[in-house]
Subunit: 341 residues, 2 copies
Amino acid sequence: MARKVCLIGSGNWGSAIARIIGDNAAHNPKFDSQVNMWVFEEQVNGRNLTEIINTEHENVKYLPGYKLPENVVAIPDLIEAVKGADILIFCVPHQFLGAMLPRIKSQGLTSSAIAVSLIKGIDFNEHGIVLISNMIRDTLNIDCSVLMGANVANEVAAGDFCESTLGCSDLCHGALLKELFNARTFRVDVVLDPHGVELCGAIKNIVALGAGFCDGLGYGGNTKAAVIRIGLMEMKHFCFKFFDGIKEDTFFQSCGIADLITTCFGGRNRKCAEAFVRQQPITWEKLEQEILNGQKLQGTLAAQEVYQILQKHACADQFPLFTKIYLIAFQHADPTLISQF
Amino acid sequence: MARKVCLIGSGNWGSAIARIIGDNAAHNPKFDSQVNMWVFEEQVNGRNLTEIINTEHENVKYLPGYKLPENVVAIPDLIEAVKGADILIFCVPHQFLGAMLPRIKSQGLTSSAIAVSLIKGIDFNEHGIVLISNMIRDTLNIDCSVLMGANVANEVAAGDFCESTLGCSDLCHGALLKELFNARTFRVDVVLDPHGVELCGAIKNIVALGAGFCDGLGYGGNTKAAVIRIGLMEMKHFCFKFFDGIKEDTFFQSCGIADLITTCFGGRNRKCAEAFVRQQPITWEKLEQEILNGQKLQGTLAAQEVYQILQKHACADQFPLFTKIYLIAFQHADPTLISQF
């Protein structure tokens, strides 16, 4: 049976990954060659974005300069896009999911449907962390894997070699999804640890703030490497403390150290944190306006929420780096606190 | 009993660490407050370097601008320096050891004597790798720990915060040595894995060549992070394959990922490897002249020797990154091979 694939999302990362899964679906009989891509409809130079994508095979707004395979079909209606899909790939801002998931559920899913989340982020409610994959899993009542790694979208689109980590709880699903995502320049490793993979993708951004503070203070390589290492240890400790079934090896995967490295040397969280130190006093909101054109940072949100969880469980002392980062970012602590252990 | 400490070596790193152990020895009754430092005698502006160190308390040649504690006493005669020492700290180019160790042994060692090596490097003979710590251990017939980490000497001297890993096979020795080396801005963690710690310090330089090739080719963060991650995996695999008692956790320590990060973003091996790609065709000897003022790279030596070991054991296919690095560096392979997996 050829599985129908639907990619929900068409931003920078969604469009980059569409190039890979479009190619793979076209050449692998396990997949229906048409890949539906749900596109949030908008006007570009007076034309519908879906129309541009379906005629020029390029997402001129979010991934200009790179062609999409012709078997990737842009569809503006969510229900139409997901109809009959066996594999749902989520690649939208997680704030969209609350409204989207019930609509997808209401139209009915195939009995073999599975999902995979490419969303790097976490949500929080009154009980603590809400994993995006669990939100999908629980609302749609289907299995949900995750794909995370050191995958800057434009570099993936350019065909630069990189790796990615597929975290799954069902190896058969993992094997199938690997066939959909793996490519010569996009090497996918499968690990049986969906929560560990997803958490890495979300909380690494806290560490990136710490790395940015080091850069803003003009610290050398020793100190920054120490902050990154301690950050990785606290990421591990946090995952093991608050989740079951986490595997240590996950932190050695692309979703772990590799993504942490790119995030702490490139990346918007690092960049804004450097500016936060250099331009003190300044607010995060102002930096988001100046540097990110109004987009929101993931790291500052995660730093606040994680600190609340640590407070609630009275264990902030076990996470000195996360705590310092929170205090510098939100409690006016002296940034040099970052290197005082 | 107050242990007498002798630091053998007074280069950039030796002088930086002398500041820490001098301070610790002066304030901890477990150590004799006088720390002997063997100094290779040379003339600086017509004066003996030992005389300058002992009067001005500064190694003006190798660590200018930083004072040494007054209880660190420079001694040009090796036998006199090590006489009665309970703790021997080795911090010299490993090529010196062949001549030094028999001399030290001949003068007799105290029954409680232990050693610690700060030498980042490995040697090779017809049987394969020779660990520096084993050379010390076997020749002097005393226990030898190692201290390695993301520790650029001038940053340590400046008091920038960093971490370091003490690898020991005897926890009592580890605990004592931690008291000698640990400081507020130099945080020492002890692990029961001396060989793993030492191997990390030596073979990370091979990975740094790969990182430098990426930089020379203008690759982005995804690819470089992937190369660093794969390099760390091959470091682990190499250690587990050829040595007993290696601990996975060692690779999470400062001697592992932290040192690898600093080496792959700063560091002379990375720098020369970048130039090697940009200035092709060029020899390593010429780059060592141009960039390092004639000093030898550790990474190129290690890459060759490790490749020979892989060939001898017919397992180069299990180490694709190490193999590619060797082929690019020494067999005229196209540098873009680095990202072809």
